[in-house]
């Protein structure tokens, strides 16, 4: 088997896994996959392994259960397929075991689980060893999701993880420095602007519309995107400067958003809490001086120090609006070419 090593799920269906019976076939498969793109991810690494004689495909995964506030182990005799679909259509085929926070998933719990999956004797012992290992690895690396899909039972009755995927919690990276070093070069999924935004510490997601958006607070920015769409426009990005942004941070954000050539109009939406409107205005002027406000711009500025903020803009000849609705509607008009 020749398998693409990429940071997306569902590589098999996307042509990232090929079967080869001879070394020649393997070479052909490898050259077909290497350098190709799987769901937008360029393939630079392959895993070549022995083809398994599969008796059964299982699913084993450890997920973060948000409402139970703990890790939950999911296991199913129906593996190798979309596990969410299984969960939706036949929830009875998924066994769930919540893990007590701060405690390991013990050997006996894993043996009981293996038994529930229909195994006996030595297979109980072998499968349970794999399960406890998966759980301890997942918690050790602060994973949000660790899953083996499929976990294969071979015709000889052995268990092999034919696939293993782990998503590590970004917030835990401060205690996983070695891991961070190893994976430094594999941020393929990010666009150049997303990389730049990450360096500046901005929350930025590129979308495919033409109204550039900058705001303070994740919820407010999401609400802004929704409103732009409701008014018939298409947001070009999500960009959150967070709380208490300085003029510099505002300038950084505007620079990133205006760096996207698709942007036809810019909407700066500020509801000042700990963010001060005068700082925002200063940041905007800084950008205008440095690179010019090349795109038609709408500013909605309310909250802490709004009078000062508005005055700075007024003196510079830049109008600002008070309601999010008015500003969103105007931004959509501007993106469509209105004067």
């Amino acid at each position: 088997m020749v398998k693409a090593q990429v940071l997306v799920a569902g590589r098999g269906k996307a042509g990232g896994i090929k079967l080869a019976d001879t070394p020649d076939d393997a070479e052909k498969a490898a050259s077909a996959i290497l350098g190709s793109k799987i769901k937008g991810e360029k393939v630079t690494t392959l895993l070549v392994e022995k083809k398994l004689a599969i008796a059964r495909e299982l699913y084993v995964g450890l997920v973060v259960d948000r409402s139970a506030k703990c890790y939950t182990l999911l296991a199913s005799q129906v593996g190798g397929v979309d596990i969410e679909e299984v969960a939706q259509k036949t929830p009875e085929k998924i066994i769930k075991r919540p893990l007590e926070p701060g405690r390991a998933f013990e050997g006996f719990q894993a043996r009981e689980l293996a038994q529930s999956l229909g195994y006996k004797g030595t297979q109980v012992v072998e499968l349970s060893a794999f399960i406890t290992e998966l759980c301890s690895m997942a918690t050790e690396y602060d994973s949000e999701l660790t899953e083996s899909n499929p976990m294969v039972e071979t015709e000889a009755g052995e268990f092999v993880a034919a696939d293993l995927r782990m998503i590590v919690d970004d917030n835990s990276l401060f205690r996983h420095k070695p891991l961070l070093e190893e994976t430094r070069d594999v941020e393929h999924e990010l666009s150049p602007l997303e990389v730049k935004a990450r360096e500046k510490g901005l929350a930025y997601v590129e979308l495919d519309g033409d109204v550039g958006i900058v705001g303070n607070g994740a919820g407010l920015v999401m609400a802004t995107l929704d409103m732009i769409q409701d008014y018939g426009g298409r947001p070009a990005n999500f960009c959150d400067v967070g709380g208490g942004a300085s003029a510099q941070r505002i300038a950084d954000a505007l620079e990133v958003v205006l760096g996207n050539p698709k942007v036809k109009a810019l909407f700066l939406n500020i509801m000042g809490g700990i963010t001060r409107c005068d700082e925002v205005s200063k940041g905007l002027l800084e950008v205008r001086e440095k690179m010019g406000l090349t795109k038609p711009t709408v500013i909605r500025l309310v909250g802490t120090n709004e009078e000062e903020g508005r005055k700075i803009l007024q003196d510079a000849g830049i109008p600002s609006l008070e309601t999010m609705e008015d500003a969103a509607a105007r931004a959509v008009e501007l993106a469509k070419g209105a004067k």
Partner: protein
């Protein structure tokens, strides 16, 4: 009355000597919140804004009689600091810190539950009972005392909606941010339960966003309990693409879970008045 915080709240500020801790201690004191002490290990004996600083929560509690805490401790140390507050039974504990690892938060919530402590957050702007007590970082002038209970997963949207409620002469009993992380102390269901029991709260506003299923669970609860007070809701992120984190660690659609559509449908089906713009919450709640 309101919920969780009020005139009886006597709070300590953990990491009071940090820049955020000091800045917001001043603002909270200015609002009239009883900040009785601060804690920064190694800096005991000082004063910040006239508030005594202690090395441990234990010392702060025994010398000041504090019953609540607000935490500004950086993420790598927030677990330790929060457990310290939990071990002394402080209630509520407001965790402002953003970026706490999920595994730490799961531990914290389990320990807080054992001790019967309420944790607001992490990654929250805090909680305010207007005119009585502010344990948070929100701009207080936007809030007015009244009869709407407001719970939100977002900071600035809380301000946005509180401001529009206040403009429409709809004051608030208590407003709080649940926190933008995947694991937080309070769910919408917990809050709905508290607002149901609070005689001052006559209606409830919920502000949700993509990610998880807290809104769906709230809808189910409202339906099953035939919730006695009017509820209006707004959910942000209808345009968010799946698999991308939208600013908050918890705001992510994973596979088919966590979409705004699913949340809005569930809320509508439960009889909740659904706003498509943040400003509409005030309109929906002023119509009886």
């Amino acid at each position: 009355m309101a919920i969780l915080v009020g005139s009886g709240t006597k709070a300590i500020v953990q990491n009071i000597t940090g820049s955020q801790g000091t800045f917001h201690t001043k603002l909270m004191l200015g609002y009239g919140t009883k900040i009785v002490g601060g804690v920064t290990p190694g800096k005991g004996g000082r004063q910040v804004e006239g508030v005594p600083v202690f090395d441990t929560v234990n010392e702060a509690v025994s010398k000041t009689g504090a019953n609540a805490s607000i935490i500004f401790v950086p993420a790598p140390f927030a677990r330790d600091a929060t457990l310290e507050a939990v071990s002394h039974g402080l209630n509520p504990i407001v965790v402002i810190t953003e970026g706490i690892p999920v595994r730490d938060s799961m531990d914290l919530m389990a320990r807080a539950k054992e001790k019967g402590c309420v944790i607001v957050g992490p990654n929250t702007p805090g909680i305010i009972t207007p005119g009585e007590c502010k344990l948070g970082i929100m701009p207080s002038h936007l809030f007015k005392r009244g009869e709407v209970g407001l719970a939100s997963r977002s900071g600035t949207l809380t301000y946005e909606i509180a401001a529009s409620l206040s403009r429409a002469s709809l004051g608030q009993s208590t407003c709080l941010g649940l926190g933008g992380d995947p694991i937080v102390g309070l769910s919408f269901v917990d809050i709905l339960e508290m607002f149901r029991k609070d005689p001052e709260t006559k209606s409830v506003a919920l502000v949700g966003e993509i990610g998880g299923n807290a809104e769906e669970l709230a809808a189910q609860y409202i339906k099953e309990t035939k919730y006695p007070k009017p509820v209006a809701a707004y959910v942000a992120g209808r345009t968010a693409p799946p698999g991308k984190r939208m600013g908050h660690a918890g705001a992510i659609i994973m596979g088919k879970t966590g979409t705004a559509e699913s949340k809005l449908e569930a809320l509508k089906a439960a009889g909740v008045k659904v706003a498509l713009k943040p400003g509409e919450i005030a309109t929906l709640l002023s119509k009886k």
